[in-house]
Symmetry: C4
């Protein structure tokens, strides 16, 4: 039984529930506030706050960008901060959302208009437990160039044979570039497919993980990979990327030991601020 098979099976129930919910009942949802799934694990909230601050301290997000996590009590809910700079996020900012991007209890807090990136990915990908959206600077070039991103080393094996690019123009024409409704979020999730991340042309990237540490670490190593690849191409010679078989071996061996090692460091640094 392969590693990826296991993960798929574990979350099969969530898929069914998510599909049944769809995004067909937004009006009803708006009229009757959705029920809360209950108080999340306090450690998960601390992880989410640490994720916000870690992404900011590593330059992966500036005042824009966001990170979310699926609720530990209900796969049909996810948790994400109110609309403020990630470096400033505290527990009071965390909002519970349905997979339609409807807040359970807004209490006057402002919302990220692009929460549908998260909502639709959770709907489409039951294996995904955490999502990061960012505009990290070295990744942007690969979303607007015809030169594809590729893994330069084992730390970015999750890139595999490359990453899909979502061009909002393909489905939505000329827009303000924001994935600010379920239709755009759904198109993004469709472009993501089974990949670990999807580049967004003229915008940024959406990164997934089977936990907060995976989504955060992949966001950071995607930026590192992009910066290194830019340099390697700049040398002007031929470049040897990770072989797809090598990338698969890295993932099957646990993908950089599950990122437990950086997470110990990042969470400590973030919560000791």
């Amino acid at each position: 039984m392969s590693f990826s098979m296991i993960r798929t099976t574990t979350f099969q129930l969530a898929t069914v529930v998510a599909v049944l919910l769809g995004f067909g009942t937004p009006v009803a949802v708006a009229q009757n506030a959705p029920a809360s799934a209950g108080t999340p694990d306090p450690e998960l909230i601390l992880d989410l706050i640490a994720a916000n601050r870690t992404l900011a301290s590593h330059g992966i997000v500036d005042a824009y960008g966001h990170v979310s996590v699926r609720h530990n009590l209900d796969p049909n809910r996810f948790l994400m901060a109110a609309a403020r700079a990630p470096a400033l996020v505290t527990e009071a900012d965390i909002i519970e959302y349905t997979l339609d991007g409807v807040p359970v209890d807004l209490r006057g807090r402002s919302q990220y208009s692009e929460r549908f990136i998260h909502a639709e990915i959770y709907k489409a990908r039951p294996d995904v437990i955490s999502v990061v959206h960012n505009h990290s600077p070295s990744v942007i070039p690969f979303g607007i160039s015809d030169v594809p991103i590729k893994p330069v080393y084992h730390m970015s094996a999750f890139i595999g044979e490359g990453l899909p690019i979502y061009d909002i123009r393909d489905e939505s024409g000329m827009t303000n570039m924001l994935v600010n409704n379920p239709v755009k979020g759904g198109a993004l999730a469709a472009e993501l497919g089974d990949a670990t991340a999807v580049l967004m042309r003229g915008h940024g990237v959406a990164v997934t993980g089977s936990s907060i540490p995976f989504a955060v670490a992949r966001s950071i190593y995607l930026e590192v990979n992009a910066a290194i690849q830019l340099q390697a191409i700049g040398l002007g010679g031929s470049v040897t990327y990770l072989d797809p078989a090598e990338a698969r071996e890295v993932l099957e061996a646990g993908e950089n030991r599950g990122y437990d090692r950086p997470w110990e460091l990042w969470r400590r640094d973030a919560l000791e601020q």
Copy 2:
């Protein structure tokens, strides 16, 4: 005769020449100090101090460069620090200026010789409430190259279809490169036209905004855009910039939500120093 004495003499002569060149009635102005528009909103002063420090902490200005804001009580006055490094600016440094660049009450403080960049833009562009002048490092190349700056993502939609370049040589010949009188300031403002910013060949950039957060955020994202564009071009493939229609959509939707989100972060960080 000491080295510093020589320099003082040179600058005194320059002052006389500048006053003689100036628009309007500089001699009378020098004799009869212009009246103050009154005490500015204390929050505006705090914003201006925060702007100075934020630009410094983000590497947009080093010890040179400056930021100003139109007086909240009189559109014919603007506020800008005395001539010192932006990181050091406090309330005692803020000088009120007429749109001819004449200080209302100098009290012995030294002045930025390039205050005419600000004065002349405020004269020519009533919609502009704040101006930043800086030498941010990734923007300089686009002022001296025939490769035009273009928006790589929605955060820099204010670039639109590109930015004008002011070459001081066109009107003023061989100079010390400083926009240190109203004639040069006027030529710069004319080159700016309706754009959000104007590159200055061999020098830097002048950036405008409808508020301090807009002028500061555009200065920061112009630098980020330049750095990303440099990388995208370095990949060697074709590059897809933001479509002009997309750029317009972003601006019409409020241009990155008015930069309220970064401003909460930047002002807090700047004033908590």
Copy 3:
């Protein structure tokens, strides 16, 4: 069966395989713990902790990468931290290892799976007293490009006429890229030969030194050299590298005065944290 349980099982199996593959008498070793060479010089331990933190503060390691030193009482033992981020390493994390990569007294601490990089280099190179393994970002391109790394200035004279590249694929085929057993470590050490460092294709580098300061300083100046060489090549003209005879002269003159000067600074900064 939870996700983390799966991973644990996978690693247990890997451990067994690694032990079976190992050189010498791994089973006996597992049963009869090797004897300790005795308490190391406390100053050496402080140097090792300072090395961990210095490499982290200089961006040579992030949460991954490691540094070791040969035991001062026994050339057949070396000292290295348990598997955690170098920035977090303290005295309690230091483990004594045999040159087969077997811990003398593990006490439940987790181990770097790539300790065999260190073990096999110490076996093959008696002159080596300290080893660093890292993924420093500007060095990676030279491990995956056909453009060779060369010394751009006297600080990196230890590069000599270039550095060998270890491609794990040559001996081990498609792997998870980790040098996690003695066979791979031995192949890496063979590729290193008499050089000061060996690049690792799609992975990073292993750097040696006749002391901790040498291994740390070479790691830092290898990164600096790589970044400078990338820029020099980016200029598009011809590049003049250090002549091999000049490189030899630098090394014969003591190689940057033995790095005593940076080590005073780095150790102070690291231990005053």
Copy 4:
């Protein structure tokens, strides 16, 4: 009377003295310790300490590199730290040197082997009051490439029409690359000529100034210029550098207002450590 004429006249006496001293009496000097010129101005010592720390905090020097200043009481003496990392320099490290590089009162302190860079420049250039030697990373490429450094903006007008490159190999053959005696120092000073700085092939740069702030600021803006020029060339289009006449105008206008503005900031930051 021009700006440069004034400076030349002011230090004419120093030239005569320096020429008379030559470097013909090193043995006598070694036998009879040279007399001190007296206690330097305490403010000059603070400036020198601030210069050391500022160069370190700006990444212009790491643990290597040094800065000196001519003694305020005697143009035939200069002051420089003992051989340690500039970030660590305090008053107790300051050594008085003759223009032959002989210490007045060493008191067991170790010396920079490359003090002859400073000594010989002071001998050859009476207008120079302060010298910096560094390996700043973006400058190195221009010392090993056939692409010449040029001023990209007014802040680096002191580059003029380019900078000379000293290749130690031309006079001294294969060496350890160090300018560690008067002959090499003299060849470097000869290559410098009337320029503000001289690149050193495969090594770094020596930068001069008519005061500590000038030498420090030029070192910093030389690095900034190099980084910007690298980016401008990377765009692939044609690049317009500062016109030589513009560069002269900037210098005649006082060269960035004498760097008083950054010096206020840098000295404060350095001494408040």
